[in-house]
């Protein structure tokens, strides 16, 4: 036969908690009460901290801020699924929450948005990369890191985040291609929040799913409901386990929605209608998990009140600590080179001599 099928692919979608919070018991990860409580508190922290940050931006206490609202389940689920030996490569959007979950003092994340490099002074032990502002540029780093970890004999994977828009950059291609060729222990978590600023997902690629891009690189791809924290957790955990076991990389497309503006500088009313936003509000990741915890006998109104109060107090303290921080302006010169060249010393003197 002159023409025959040489390849066929398919992509599965996973959801564990449906839109109304009903659980698929066959897929449900068996998590202890403590863990479930932790997940809920982190989701709430994500939401409350985010709202506070946006409010701080509105009053000029921080600069441009990219809100996370609506996407908390991906940050929380993926970060909890990672092992403490894995390295994480977040984007700007989930950076604060991911860093905090790995042990970065929360006030330092506020410092990033207050425009200070001190916020990104990440203790190497938390195994996180500084978020990359240029879209998708972190992805090849995660692949190289994965290669190195394997070569060093560490049983560790790397988890790299990016957005739907990020999949259009050449770096995305390079990362997936290298990861596939090297069979690198790497997990790509794409937060498909439907928008890249004003550009809708369907204008980024003609592919029906982002997950299917994995197929072309010969790696595993799966789509999950990104507003379902259990599904994200399970997918990332399995992918990271596989990666560490030498089974290569996985691309996980998490379907979610950016509820807020792209950043505090953006006005989404210009390009999307509020009906769409409201439709997604009904799919909120936190509400859904609440219903699940209610069924588990964990969530009730007193619990909710307690979590909200404790979270608000934590965020308040975070802001205070951040605002009390005093940077040393000379640091803008000190970290350019291992040893400061004489010419730079002179410039530093000139700079601060005149101020």
């Amino acid at each position: 036969m002159p023409i025959s099928t040489v390849f066929e692919g398919k992509i599965s979608r996973m959801q564990i908690l449906d839109e109304s919070g009903i659980v698929d018991t066959a897929l449900e990860p068996k998590l202890q009460t403590e863990m479930l409580d932790k997940i809920y508190r982190l989701l709430v922290l994500g939401r409350v901290w985010d709202k506070k940050s946006l409010a701080l931006q509105r009053t000029g206490r921080i600069y441009t801020y990219p809100p996370l609202e609506g996407q908390e389940a991906i940050s929380v689920g993926a970060t909890l699924a990672a092992g403490m030996d894995d390295w994480l490569f977040p984007t700007y959007r989930e950076a604060s929450l991911v860093y905090y979950m790995r042990g970065h003092p929360s006030y330092k994340s506020n410092l990033m948005w207050m425009g200070l490099e001190d916020g990104l002074k990440l203790d190497k032990r938390i195994r996180c990369f500084p978020y990359a502002t240029p879209i998708a540029t972190q992805l090849p780093h995660a692949v190289g890191a994965a290669y190195a970890l394997r070569m060093k004999g560490e049983k560790a994977a790397t988890i790299a985040f990016c957005g739907d828009g990020g999949t259009s950059e050449g770096d995305f291609h390079d990362a997936l291609n290298f990861a596939g060729v090297w069979n690198a222990p790497c997990v790509f978590v794409v937060s498909n929040n439907q928008w890249a600023i004003s550009v809708p997902r369907k204008e980024q690629t003609k592919s029906e799913t982002l997950a299917q891009k994995a197929i072309a690189y010969g790696i595993r791809g799966i789509q999950v409901d990104g507003n379902d924290v259990l599904a994200v957790y399970k997918a990332v955990k399995e992918a990271a386990d596989d990666a560490r076991a030498g089974k290569g990389p996985t691309l996980i497309e998490c379907i979610t929605y950016r509820m807020g503006p792209h950043t505090s500088a953006d006005d989404p009313k210009k390009y999307r209608d509020s009906d769409e936003v409201e439709r997604w509000r009904a799919l909120d990741p936190i509400k859904r998990f609440q219903v699940y915890l209610l069924g588990k006998g964990i969530w009730n109104e007193d619990y909710e009140k307690k979590v909200l109060e404790e979270t608000a107090a934590f965020v308040e303290k975070t802001v205070q600590q951040a605002e009390a921080f005093k940077p040393d302006p000379k640091d803008i010169f000190r970290y350019q080179y291992a040893r400061m060249p004489k010419n730079l010393e002179e410039q530093m003197e000139e700079c601060f001599g005149s101020k």
Binding site: Y63, G115, T133, G166, G170, F352
Partner: protein
């Protein structure tokens, strides 16, 4: 005439040029329905439709690479790179193809286009959002680099960039986008590339600047005047081609020069200007050429950015020191 800020002036120019030349297409991230993150392309999508105002996928390399093909086929693309700090993703297309096509085909395939680059800092934007990397393009043969410093100049220089026949990197100083308004003619006009503008005549020191630094320098020049120092202010308008004649005749008159730019001092365009003055005007000079520039450090995050950019005080100090040398 209408009063316009720089965003309005560039927007008016784009609309006017698109009206008269159906080959022009505007392309980039968020340039369509959103009108660009700085609203420079506002209204163009509604007016000219999605074939001529293209919201592209998120890829600078894709934007510039496809613009090359479009231009070679006779369109006149105006790609917008959302922030100049993200043009590195498309840089290889610029230096490997845009800069070379005319030469390596001995003029048979040329790719005129105007790549718009919102550049420069001082507006407390995030990292990579405040860069002014004109030097990396000026360094490349085959490219024109234009850097307006006022709404009036922006409109006239953009029109000239579109008709000059060469690829142009059009730097737009974000700090001046909405800083002030001035009279801008509604009718079409061109300000030729390669011709500097003497903003103010003076006899003691020549101050050479472009973009946002022209604006900041004006204040320093006022202060210098109060101290009895007469400054001749030359705004370059276009950096490649550069108006070496005007620089030369001005420094011949004053014997002293200060160059102000926000790009890093090392190999910033000030270095080239100083070298040219050294080559051409050595015997006329009374003082070494002074550079007031961004320090040789990565631009600090927004909270501490003011330490980086030349401000009125630093520029004034440079003028005084040069005048008194």
């Amino acid at each position: 005439m209408a009063k316009m800020n720089m965003v309005e002036a560039i927007n008016a120019c784009l609309a006017q040029e698109m009206e008269r030349d159906g080959r022009i297409v505007v392309m980039g991230e968020d340039v369509g329905i959103d009108g660009g993150v700085f609203r420079v392309t506002e209204g163009l999508f509604a007016k000219f439709g999605k074939e001529r105002v293209i919201d592209t996928p998120l890829s600078e390399n894709g934007i510039i690479g496809t613009a090359i093909g479009m231009s070679a086929m006779g369109l006149v693309p105006i790609p917008e790179i959302q922030f100049q700090g993200f043009d590195y993703e498309g840089y290889h297309q610029v230096v490997q193809h845009i800069a070379r096509l005319r030469n390596r085909t001995r003029g048979s395939i040329t790719v005129p286009m105007v790549i718009r680059l919102p550049a420069s800092g001082g507006i407390r934007a995030l990292e990579h959002h405040g860069e002014s990397a004109e030097s990396i393009y000026i360094h490349m043969p085959g490219l024109c680099v234009v850097y307006p410093s006022s709404p009036y100049d922006a409109k006239g220089l953009l029109a000239a960039s579109l008709s000059c026949g060469d690829p142009v990197l059009f730097f737009e100083p974000k700090r001046l986008y909405r800083a002030y308004k001035e009279e801008v003619p509604e009718e079409r006009y061109e300000i030729p590339l390669g011709k500097a503008n003497i903003l103010r005549e003076g006899s003691d020191v020549t101050l050479i600047s472009w973009g946002a630094m022209t604006y900041v320098s004006k204040e320093a020049i006022e202060d210098a005047q109060k101290q009895g120092i007469s400054v001749e202010h030359v705004d370059l308008r276009s950096l490649s081609p550069c108006d070496w004649d005007t620089i030369g005749s001005s420094v011949k008159k004053t014997g002293r020069a200060v160059v102000v730019h926000e790009a890093f001092k090392t190999l910033g365009f000030g270095a080239e200007i100083a070298a040219r003055i050294m080559e051409n005007d050595f015997l006329d000079m009374e003082a070494p050429v002074m550079r007031v520039a961004g320090w040789d450090i990565q631009i600090p995050y927004p909270k501490q950015e003011e330490y980086f950019f030349p401000d009125k005080e630093r520029i004034l100090k440079g003028i005084v020191k040069t005048a008194k040398f």
